[in-house]
Symmetry: C2
DNA sequence: GTGTTTATGTGATGCAGGTCACTTTGAGAC
DNA sequence: GTCTCAAAGTGACCTGCATCACATAAACAC
């Protein structure tokens, strides 16, 4: 399935667009291919685009002063990634986005998203719902982080996104869960 | 300042409405007075409304199987509170909302929010931005929870919301930070 | 292929913060 | 006022997870 069709079906789940409207929307996206390990947004950059994943897997992450990495999100096909704080506020990025595997993405400029939201009511609706889902997911993750131990969070993650197990190295899973890679490794030593 | 004016100015920060449009919007809100300690949404309820705070302070929180409380949000004047997951998905509430102090609020039914978003493009814009801000704030809190220790998170919270110090008891602050009340109490024993 | 980097496992040790138990202070209710 | 209950402080003890150190093993570059 081509990029156009993937995006069209993705948006159609939340918003109703005519074919002409979708053509107009799609004309604001640009396609990019990235290699495994390649950076898409680096801390300090201006974050001007958000990215819709067609193929592969991205991660968005923060690096603290001790160079420790914390993963905010893994982005699989039909997910969106960016430094949303910087994107909306116009500030420099503090979040990085890069490629865990080779990836195909569509980029949308911040200005164009706002333009599309102004022009087409249904696009504003679409982006409202996309953010809604992100907000609710972030709140659930906050509660899980406060309430559950490392093992529980690990099993929760694998149950929710089984595909991750095969694609994402354990050190990155640890950086998502908020535990050290050693602790994650020890969770299942000698079979559970 | 009356309820109408507070809401009007709050919305005007993000969206442009004519007076007629605002009158229409405002007609969907209902005003309520609550007493300190009173519950607004309880786990198991249908969550059908979201609440805009005019006066006082609410909290939204989760209670786990061990009856331990985790606070998702304090809601001060011009903040919104609800179980947004249940509200949007139609599921039963898992989050509670109640009053830390006596409070004056405006309620908006889920159905009416969606109706207003359909009728008035600018209202869809308003709610998109409201959720944006919530999403970004939740992501920052996730990072802080993974990256910083209890003392750091406490100082961060007080710096961001100094008003909380006088209004909100320490055991609730602890439930927000994700530490025990004993640990929070010990942070500043014998003056720092 | 060979050398280099990245991912993973595992032992030893330390500490932040949890839990339990008890005390003190303060705010309402009457 | 007095009684009750919630909030807050503190000691003693325990534990989940971090950190450091080193050993494999697998992936990648050339």
């Amino acid at each position: 399935m081509d990029a156009r069709e993937i995006l069209k079906q993705h948006i159609a789940k939340t918003a109703t667009l005519t074919d002409e409207e979708f053509d107009h929307v799609f004309s604001h996206f640009a396609r990019h291919s990235f290699k495994k390990g390649q950076a898409i947004i680096s801390a300090g950059d201006k974050a001007e685009h958000e990215y819709f994943v067609l193929e592969g897997c991205l991660k968005s992450f923060y690096i603290n002063d001790d160079l420790k990495m914390f993963i905010l999100q893994f982005a699989m096909p039909t997910w969106w990634a960016s430094d949303f704080d910087a994107l909306y506020s116009g500030a420099r990025a503090t979040i990085n986005v890069d490629c865990i595997t080779d990836a195909e993405v569509l980029s949308l400029h911040n200005t164009d998203r706002e333009k599309l939201c102004r022009e087409i009511h249904q696009m504003e609706h679409f982006f409202r719902w996309r953010t809604n889902r992100g907000y609710v997911a972030a709140q659930k993750r906050l509660l899980s982080l406060m309430n559950n131990d490392a093992r529980h969070r690990y099993e929760e993650l694998l149950q929710m996104y089984p595909q991750l197990y095969n694609i994402v190295p354990k050190n990155l899973i640890a950086a998502y869960l908020g535990v050290s890679r050693e602790t994650l490794s020890r969770l299942y030593q000698h079979g559970k």
